[in-house]
Structures are given as structure tokens and as C-alpha cells.
Symmetry: C2
Subunit: 152 residues, 2 copies
């Protein structure tokens, strides 16, 4: 049963969590945090590039496709730290302000982690057509999120 006491307790937890996240962000200087955010995305690019290129017919299937997809999934799980509370106004950031208020922004990384992990499993099977299709799904997630939340 949800009552006022529970609501107040939940609100307190949320405030405490937000406070902690703000403190965590403050551990780094703004320019260091921007490097963190952009560095995680460069790592995503490095791992995903040849997978998305394969989906688009630009290059052959990389021999290490499964490993790349696994790393991509790990990076997607780590990525939300790059946009934690307290990092809404980093100078030089390409993230649109809407990302920090959109309910679907951070869960987008969960979806990426799931689909990249699926790609890793399919890559192990060696079925090139299935790999191409799933790499296309992963690329679609990248593209949709960038289109909505990134200033290119």
C-alpha cells in the first residue's frame, strides 16, 4: 500500500541520490568530465565503426565482430555516468539540453547494451546476413539518439 509516509521516504531517497550524483560529478573538473563523456563515445565509435560499416556494405565483416559487440555492450552500460546530474552545462558539449530532461535518454543506453549483446551472440554464430541485420539495429539506435539529442 502506497501512503504519504512511503512517498516521503521515496522522495528523500531521490533527493539523496541526486545529491550523491552531483557530488560525484564534482569530483572532476568540468573539462575532465567533458573528456570522460567524449572519450566514452570515441570508444563506442572505435568498437562500433566496422560493425556499422558492415551493416551499410562499406566494409567486410570484421573478424573480431563478437568481441567488438561485447565491448560496445559494456560501454553502453557505463555510458550513463557521462551524463550524470551536475553535468548539464559542460562547456563545449554537443549534448542538447533536452537530453537531461527526456525520460527516454538514459534508458536508450540500456537498449543499446541489450542490442549490442544480442549482436555479440549472433556474431558468434557466424551467420553474416543475421549479423548485418542486427548491426543495422544497433546502428539505428545510435542514429536515432544522435538525431534527437546531439548537436552535430
Amino acid at each position: 500500500m502506497l501512503n504519504f509516509k512511503h512517498l516521503i521516504a521515496a522522495a528523500t531517497v531521490c533527493v539523496a541520490a541526486a545529491g550523491l550524483a552531483g557530488e560525484a560529478a564534482a569530483q572532476l573538473k568540468p573539462e575532465e568530465f567533458l573528456t570522460l563523456r567524449q572519450g566514452l563515445m570515441q570508444a563506442v565509435r572505435l568498437q562500433a565503426g566496422p560493425l556499422l560499416g558492415f551493416a551499410q556494405g562499406k566494409n567486410e565483416l570484421p573478424a573480431d565482430a563478437a568481441l567488438r559487440a561485447e565491448r560496445l555492450s559494456s560501454l553502453a552500460k557505463l555510458a550513463p555516468m557521462g551524463w550524470m546530474k551536475g553535468t548539464e552545462a559542460l562547456k563545449g558539449s554537443e549534448t542538447k539540453p533536452a537530453a537531461f530532461t527526456a525520460a527516454k535518454f538514459l534508458p536508450g543506453f540500456d537498449a543499446l547494451a541489450v542490442e549490442a549483446n544480442r549482436l555479440a551472440e549472433i556474431a558468434k554464430s557466424g551467420d553474416a546476413a543475421a549479423i548485418k541485420a542486427q548491426a543495422g539495429v544497433v546502428g539505428g539506435l545510435c542514429k536515432d539518439c544522435h538525431k534527437e539529442f546531439k548537436n552535430d
Copy 2:
């Protein structure tokens, strides 16, 4: 039995792997790769900071110690991509050239992944003294590697 044919085959694989790594590094511009490398290390700092601070008596045990240690372990597994072949001469890098020839440099990240994972397990137990001791082990790995391979 190891014979010349095997040695030649092994050498060919090594050259091919090195070539692939060089190509992979070339996917990004040098300054993008430097951001990748430095961004991964800032992520390590963000996660490890309060754990190492606790080991040194500078702050309380963070409530999310286990999660931080798990992320640190994931980052340690991903970190070697930041020093792949082809990235020996990034302008502005603080990595000493010796890191690229030292046999123990990259395995150092494996050790960090193992010890951070152990820290995550211990953190779940809630035994503050044991957590402090293991966070000290993790901090020791950071310190030793920086001392030998980083220009501060």
C-alpha cells in the same frame, strides 16, 4: 611439436593482428584517440576516487562501493584499447614511451580488473575493514602503474 612451419604461421598471425590494430587505431583521428584514452582514465578516476579516498581515510565508505568497483573492473577490461598499436605517439599524451614496449603494461589492466572485481565482492559483504584493505590493493595498482608509465 613446435617447428618452423608453426613459427612462421604464428609470426604471420602476429603481423596480421598488429596490422588490424593499426587499422583500428586509424579509424579515429589522433586527437580523438587521445580523448578516448584520457576519457577512459577519467571514468576510472570518477569511479575509483571515493573508494581510494576511503582506503586512505579521506572519506566515508561510499554507499555505492560495490557498483563503483564493478564499473572499475569493466573499465579496466576496456582500457587496453586506449593504448593499441598505432597510438604510440599521440600528441599531448602523458603515457611514457616505455609503456608500449613493457611486457607488463597491458597485463596490468587485467590485474586491475581482477582486484576491482574482488573489491566489488567484498563490498557486498559490508565488512568495512576488508573493503578498506582491498581498496588499498586497487589503489596500489593505480599508483604503481602511474609511477612507472605516466608522466605526471
